[in-house]
């Protein structure tokens, strides 16, 4: 089964993202900061990570740098997710190793489009 890890310090965003990803047939885990997310990745590397950029303890940038250096850390597709929409912030995240970018607020359709772009096309049953 496809697996996703939602990393965001907002419980509301984690809940919304979890709900959307579950409807898209992902097994979902979540973490409220980069440290906890890294621990979950060590247990089992997810297929996709939805990563908030601004978090306490360890932010998205630091998490992504450590993730990409870790064993099999190049495997997950990382969609970084923030309200900072300026081109500089996006370019910095891409340089850090993110695969795609989702601006908040997002909906199911945007999530589907972004997942499709990183190689997780929606299955037929999820389109209805």
């Amino acid at each position: 089964m496809r697996s996703a890890l939602v990393v965001d310090d907002s419980a509301v965003i984690r809940k919304v993202a979890r709900r959307i990803l579950e409807t898209l047939d992902f097994a979902v885990r979540d973490a409220e900061d980069g440290e906890k997310a890294l621990a979950l990745c060590t247990e089992e590397m997810p297929s996709v990570i939805l990563l908030d950029w601004n978090m306490p303890n360890m932010d998205g940038y630091a998490f992504l740098r450590l993730l990409r250096q870790s064993h099999n850390g190049d495997r997950p597709k990382v969609l970084f997710c923030t309200t900072e929409n300026d081109v500089g912030a996006i370019a910095r995240a891409l340089r850090a190793g993110a695969d795609e970018y989702i601006m908040k607020p997002f909906d199911r359709e945007i999530m589907m489009a972004k997942l499709d772009q990183v190689g997780f096309a929606a299955r037929l049953s999820e389109l209805v």
């Binding site: 929409n85 081109v87 891409l94 795609e100 607020p105 909906d107 359709e109 945007i110 499709d116």
Partner: protein, 285 residues
């Protein structure tokens, strides 16, 4: 959302945009308009309907129509037709037109510009092979309103997230407040003209590649056949036409025939070749 709310929205959207919503699209209304509610601080869809009933024209009204119709077009919609453009049509055209160094592309239902700009971005990616070429992308649409938006080249963050790879967003767009503007370089590659496909369009000249996607579905069979026949006549003898995934020429006309290798791609049939003026170029692609 109550039945009365849905019926109001159905009529409202039909009146404002021509969008036809069957009862099975109720979920679409809810999923599209909930983000609009959040953006404008409206608590429920019923409250949104209440506001629409009282107001005439403003940002909220435009946002409602936009949210419901943006699914009609987005950057790199369906992806496969653009992969085909990048991997097959453009390389073949570059080889076939090497002598004349001229390429004309028509986006026949350009809407708010996402399709022609997607094609322009792909042409730009092949810039090294197209140095010294004249590449013209013509975008036409029935609605002057959508063409105005296309010319402005300003898109909401919802619009730039549907289909547009982030690398192309960073490369070709700049942020203007809450919106994103396409670069002047890409914008200058596309010219827009209002056009009703039911009217003559031979004045547009001959095209090498025509994208006419998801517009024929709104026409009856004789109209589809007529439009397809006239597109075939506007096509270079070795040109290519892309139709939408739900559209075909089969049973309608023989002026265009399906390409056996690529789904959605059509070439001139024998009837169009017989009626067309002499070939402009000998090389084929």
């Amino acid at each position: 959302m109550t039945e009365a709310d849905f019926l109001f929205l159905r009529d409202y959207l039909k009146r404002r945009s021509g969008l036809s919503l069957g009862p099975e699209k109720r979920y679409l209304v809810e999923s599209r308009l909930s983000p609009v509610c959040r953006r404008f601080g409206v608590n429920t869809l019923s409250d949104l309907v209440g506001t629409l009933r009282l107001s005439r024209e403003g940002p909220l009204e435009r946002a409602v129509v936009e949210a419901m119709t943006t699914n009609e077009t987005f950057f790199f919609r369906d992806r496969a037709p653009f992969d085909l453009f990048r991997d097959v049509l453009l390389p073949r055209a570059i080889a076939a037109r090497a002598a004349v160094r001229r390429l004309r592309i028509w986006s026949a239902a350009a809407s708010t510009g996402q399709e022609p700009y997607s094609l322009a971005m792909m042409v730009h990616e092949a810039a090294a092979q197209l140095a010294g070429w004249q590449v013209e992308i013509v975008g036409t649409d029935l609605s002057t309103e959508v063409l105005e938006k296309a010319r402005l080249g300003l898109y909401s963050h919802f619009e730039v997230q549907r289909g547009l790879p982030v690398q192309l967003l960073v490369k070709h767009f700049t942020q203007v407040g809450e919106q994103w503007r396409i670069s002047p370089k890409i914008a200058s590659m596309v010219s827009y003209r209002p056009l009703n496909l039911l009217h003559p369009f031979d004045h547009l000249g001959q095209f090498d590649i025509v994208y006419c996607r998801n517009v024929l579905i709104y026409f009856d069979a004789p109209t589809k056949a007529d439009v397809l026949d006239r597109i075939a006549k506007s096509l270079a003898p070795d040109g290519a036409v892309l139709l939408g995934a739900a559209e075909t020429v089969i049973g309608l006309t023989e002026s265009l025939v399906p390409d056996s290798q690529h789904r959605g791609l059509y070439r001139q049939g024998s009837t169009a070749r017989a009626a067309a003026p002499p070939p402009r170029m000998a090389a084929g692609f």
